[in-house]
Structures are given as structure tokens and as C-alpha cells.
């Protein structure tokens, strides 16, 4: 089976007004982008391919979902005209809709489902036609059923038309209160009704009540209280003595100190009352602020320091490289591979030439001890594509679900913090070490960490 997802811009325009800059399909519901719920349902229903068609832009959705290999489905994209009816949409996507059964999800709607239910055999046995309808859309099936069995009673899924900020809030609260175990939600859950993401700092004086969902890179300060039925997004700071109850704090939001956010949606410097639909833009940055990556000064200083240090390293390594590279190369111990790696910017990759030197001879061991395998990468520091020290670059891999450049602090580099701390290359704690320094390091500390990384390589090669 395949799924055709038909999204019309007009139906989701209200969401774009509320959360400008986020594509409506990527607006998080309980910290999970809306599109992921639809993809999950399509997979549960037995779909092997999903085509998203819209009369608006889908660029951000394409960047996020890519070809769907993260979910093990094939995702493609297409355009429609606002006036196209379902028949015309199918005609326009004839190649996709040929032969197999097609589930058509039309409209900006949320599907209530249960991940534990078996929808594959149900959908295989349902007769074609409209299955469910709500004011803003429907689910229908085309094609012949494998073996027609009328489902007993009502269908084990239902629709919610997402047409107002009130509905969005209600749906989030409904999932929090009674649907946490029905959907796959992001975060670590060691106990029921509690999902916590990565790099969440919770002081002893803070209080958290279930059910709750907290995203990645969240800092709660002293005496903060997160009451039940709250969703805290990623990259959020809740300042001291503030109380969040029954509210949604969207990604990249700072909540000031001594505040009480009750039954509201806070998104950057925007505070929304879902009940009345009214919203206010905060002009006081100490109350509510959007946290944009304002790292210009720090980034600039880091880049200057890294460039300077890389230049010195290049000058030091140049003569040994000129002498040893041809000899070790002729010995066949100098191996190179060009592969794409993720950069710190979402959607951008860099092609790097990684060098591997076999250290089974005196000259090749010397070359490795002098870190000549990193020589060519140092030029990438000068061009700003790599840092001198940071994270070990992650190779582009379509099966990675959480892209490294969506994690705060990811900075691909010539040397890694884990190397400096002498952690094994493939160890579960390596990522934690790198992430710690990525967040807590500074340009001057980077220099000493680079020295440590080079020292450890020298020491290891000397020992071997």
C-alpha cells in the first residue's frame, strides 16, 4: 500500500500566522513534528511509500523528511493547484497511484491511533471508498481489498481537524493526559508519563510533576516548578522561581524568573492564550524571549583562534609532510577516502578527505605521530568548514534519525574533544564527552584541548 498526503495551504495558514517561520507540517505536537505522526500512521497502515503533495511550499518538509529512509519508507513530494479536487490530484500523481492501494489523507488533520494496534491487516481488508471524514478532511482508500472483511464496530482510529490554536492545545493536552503510550514520542522515558530529552539540566530545587514532556537542551533553574500537563520544547531555559502549568513552551524560548505560565503557549517572545486565541508579543526580554543562535561574537573569536592555531600547525607540519608523504605513499601505507560529512548547518554537508596511515613502519609511525593524517583537514579550518577541535565529523548517513546538526553544539573538527580526553573512538560515552565540551568549552580552552589531543596521539603511537 501507498499513502498520498494532500495538504492545502489555506487549511494550515492559521498555524503559520501563530508560529511564523515553521512549516505547519513541522509544528511540534508534544515535541514531535506533526508530519512524523502522519508518517507513523502511514507505516502502521502498511504503507511502503508516501507522497506529500501541496499547493504551497514543501522545501522545509523535504529538508526534514528527505527521502524517508529514516523511517524505512520512500517519501516523495509533488505540487497541486489549490482548485484541484481529489480526482485531479490522483490523476496528477498517476505514476505513484498506479497498481497499488492508495490511502489518501486529505486535509490538515490529526489521526488518533494506537501504535500497538495492527492496522496493516485492517487496511488490507477494508473496501475502497471514504473511511472517515471530519470538517476539514478525510481518509479514503482506492484499489481492491485483498480479502474483504467488514471491521467490527467503528474503525480503531479517528480524526481531529486542526483548525485553531485551541484545537492544537487541546490535542497536545489530550496526548499528554491519555495518549502518551499510544504514540512514539521523542525523549527518554524511564517511567510512565515522563519523557525527557538529552542535555536537560534539572537542579535539586526544581519540581517536575507528571505527565510531562521535556525536549533536548533544556535548563531549569533553581526552584522552578513544572506542573503536570506541560510540554517543554528543545533549547529552552526556565529561569528561577518560575512556574509552568498546563502549558506548552515551544522550542527556543526563554521564560524569565518569577513568572507563572498557566494554560498558555509560549513560543519565543509570543504568549498565546489558547482559550481566547489572543496572543501578545513580549517586548521585555527578561519576561519571554526567543532564543536565536546569537553566537556571532563567540563564533568569530573561536574562528579567529582556530584559524591562527591551524596556520601554526600547518607551518609546523609542512616540512615533515613534504618529506614523509611521498615515501609513505609509495609504501602504500597512506590511504585516502573522500566522503560527505554533516556540517554544523542543517541541510549542508562538506566533502572531506580522510587519511589513514598504516603505522607498521618507522616512517609511517612517525607520520602518524606528527598527525600528518590530519594535515589536509587543517586547510578546511582556514576555509571555515571545520573547527580545529570539536566533534568527530559524522559521515552522512540516511539512516540517522537525529541529525547531528540538529543537536546544539555540534561542530565537526580536525581533532575531537574525545581524542583530547583519550576516550575510545567507538564508545557510548564519547558522544557525551564531545557534547559536554561543545557546550562548555571556549576558544582558549580549545587550544589546550588541541595540544592534549596531539599529545595523546603522540603518546599512543609511541607506545605502540
Amino acid at each position: 500500500m501507498k499513502t498520498l498526503l494532500v495538504i492545502r495551504e489555506q487549511e494550515s495558514a492559521w498555524l503559520l500566522d501563530q508560529f511564523p517561520g515553521i512549516h505547519p507540517l513541522l509544528v511540534p505536537i508534544c515535541n514531535k513534528p506533526f508530519i512524523e505522526f502522519l508518517v507513523d500512521f502511514a507505516i502502521l497502515a502498511g504503507s511502503e511509500a508516501l507522497r506529500i503533495v501541496s499547493d504551497g511550499g514543501l522545501r522545509d518538509v523535504e529538508l526534514y523528511c528527505a527521502n524517508g529512509s529514516r523511517w524505512g519508507v520512500e517519501i516523495s513530494y509533488g505540487n497541486i493547484n489549490p482548485a484541484d479536487d481529489t480526482y485531479t490530484v490522483i490523476e496528477k500523481n498517476r505514476r505513484f497511484c498506479l497498481k497499488e492501494r492508495i490511502m489518501i489523507i486529505s486535509g490538515f488533520l490529526f489521526i488518533r491511533y494506537d501504535k500497538k494496534s495492527d492496522y496493516t491487516s485492517l487496511f488490507a481488508s477494508l473496501q475502497s471508498g471514504e473511511l472517515l471524514r471530519c470538517p476539514h478532511g478525510s481518509i479514503s482508500l482506492t484499489g481492491d481489498a485483498a480479502s474483504v472483511i467488514s471491521p467490527a464496530g467503528t474503525l480503531p482510529f479517528s480524526l481531529v481537524a486542526l483548525d485553531s490554536i485551541g484545537k492544537y492545545y487541546e490535542l497536545s493536552m489530550e496526548i499528554l493526559r491519555s495518549g502518551l503510550n499510544k504514540y512514539v514520542l521523542p525523549g527518554y522515558s524511564s517511567e510512565a508519563d515522563c519523557y525527557i530529552g538529552r542535555n536537560v539540566i534539572i537542579p535539586k530545587s526544581a519540581e517536575i510533576q507528571k505527565p510531562v514532556i521535556i525536549g533536548n537542551n533544556v535548563q531549569l533553574l533553581a526552584n522552578t516548578v513544572i506542573h503536570a500537563n506541560s510540554v517543554i520544547g528543545s533549547n529552552v531555559i526556565i529561569d528561577r522561581d518560575s512556574v509552568i502549568s498546563g502549558s506548552i513552551v515551544m522550542d527556543n524560548t526563554y521564560i524569565g524568573e518569577h513568572l507563572e505560565v498557566e494554560n498558555k503557549i509560549a513560543a519565543g517572545n509570543l504568549l498565546i492564550d489558547p482559550e481566547s486565541g489572543s496572543s501578545i508579543i513580549m517586548e521585555d526580554p527578561h519576561l519571554l524571549t526567543a532564543m536565536t543562535p546569537s553566537r556571532v561574537a563567540g563564533t568569530l573569536l573561536r574562528r579567529v583562534v582556530h584559524t591562527f592555531a591551524a596556520t601554526i600547525l600547518i607551518l609546523i607540519q609542512l616540512l615533515p609532510w613534504l618529506l614523509l608523504r611521498p615515501i609513505v605513499g609509495m609504501q602504500g601505507k597512506w590511504k585516502r577516502k573522500r566522503e560527505p560529512y554533516y556540517t554544523a548547518l542543517a541541510g549542508k554537508n562538506v566533502t572531506l578527505t580522510s587519511t589513514y596511515i598504516e603505522s607498521n613502519g618507522s616512517l609511517s609511525t612517525l607520520a602518524k605521530t606528527l598527525a600528518l593524517d590530519r594535515f589536509s583537514l587543517l586547510f578546511k579550518v582556514l576555509s571555515g568548514e571545520l573547527a580545529l577541535i570539536g566533534n568527530k565529523p559524522v559521515r552522512v548517513n540516511a539512516s540517522i534519525r537525529l541529525l547531528p546538526n540538529r543537536v546544539a553544539g555540534y561542530r565537526p573538527a580536525v581533532f575531537s574533544y574525545a581524542e583530547a580526553e583519550d576516550w575510545p573512538e567507538f564508545c557510548i560515552d564519547t558522544e557525551i564527552v564531545e557534547h559536554y565540551y561543545a557546550v562548555h568549552s571556549n576558544p582558549m580552552k580549545d587550544i589546550s584541548m588541541t595540544q592534549k589531543a596531539i599529545f595523546h596521539r603522540t603518546y599512543q603511537n609511541h607506545c605502540t
Binding site: 513568572l259 504568549l271 492564550d273 517586548e283 519571554l288
Partner: protein, 117 residues
């Protein structure tokens, strides 16, 4: 800001109609004017029906007015908070400091029902 004395209550009552915005540009004006109004009465109703926006300095000015009124053994009540302004009062917990009424007449009436000290 429009101020007038309401004499329908047992004690004269200062009714202030706040307009448009109270922010860092005009919050000091409110505080200065309030000091003068205090010479005429110590009970006030701030009618916020036409108030569109308030920031932290405006909020600070209103809280300061309340404090001054309480020091003079009076009170300051708020009426007709719009949804946006109400959100700021709720967010900062300032709403807990004030008696809030849905409209001006209800707020004025509340002063009549309170027995004079």
C-alpha cells in the same frame, strides 16, 4: 490617561481611564500624576478597557500606584482587563495583588459595598 472623581460612592473615588499603552515611555507620567491624584482621594479604579498593551515598566508603575494607595489606607482596583493585558498580569503574578472586575461600574460598586474603616 483620563482622571475624574466619582462621587457616587460613600467616599470620593478616583477613576482613571488608561489608554493604548503603558510602557517605559509613559510609565513615569502615570506615577507622577498618581501622586497628585492621591491628594484628592486614596481609592482608585483603573479602567483598562482601552488599554492595548503594558510592559514591565508599566506594570511596575501600576503596582507602585497600588502600594502608594495602600500606604494611604486606600485601595486600587482594576476593571475591564483586555485579554492581552490580562495575560501580562497573570504571567507576572501581578493579578494576585489586585482586585480585578469585569467592568468599571462593577469595580466602582465594590467600593460602596466595603464598609468604611
Amino acid at each position: 490617561m483620563i482622571f475624574h472623581l466619582d462621587t457616587t460612592t460613600p467616599q470620593p473615588l478616583g477613576v482613571v481611564l488608561l489608554k493604548k499603552r503603558i510602557d517605559s515611555n509613559n510609565s513615569s507620567e502615570l506615577q507622577k500624576a498618581f501622586t497628585q491624584w492621591l491628594q484628592q482621594t486614596n481609592n482608585f479604579v483603573f479602567d483598562c478597557a482601552e488599554l492595548d498593551f503594558i510592559d514591565s515598566s508599566g506594570l511596575g508603575a501600576i503596582v507602585s500606584c497600588l502600594r502608594k494607595a495602600l500606604e494611604q489606607h486606600g485601595d486600587l482596583k482594576l476593571a475591564a482587563l483586555g485579554p492581552k493585558v490580562a495575560m501580562i498580569f497573570e504571567l507576572t503574578k501581578a493579578k494576585k495583588l489586585f482586585s480585578v472586575f469585569s467592568d468599571r461600574s462593577e469595580a466602582i460598586q465594590s467600593f460602596s459595598t466595603v464598609s468604611p474603616k
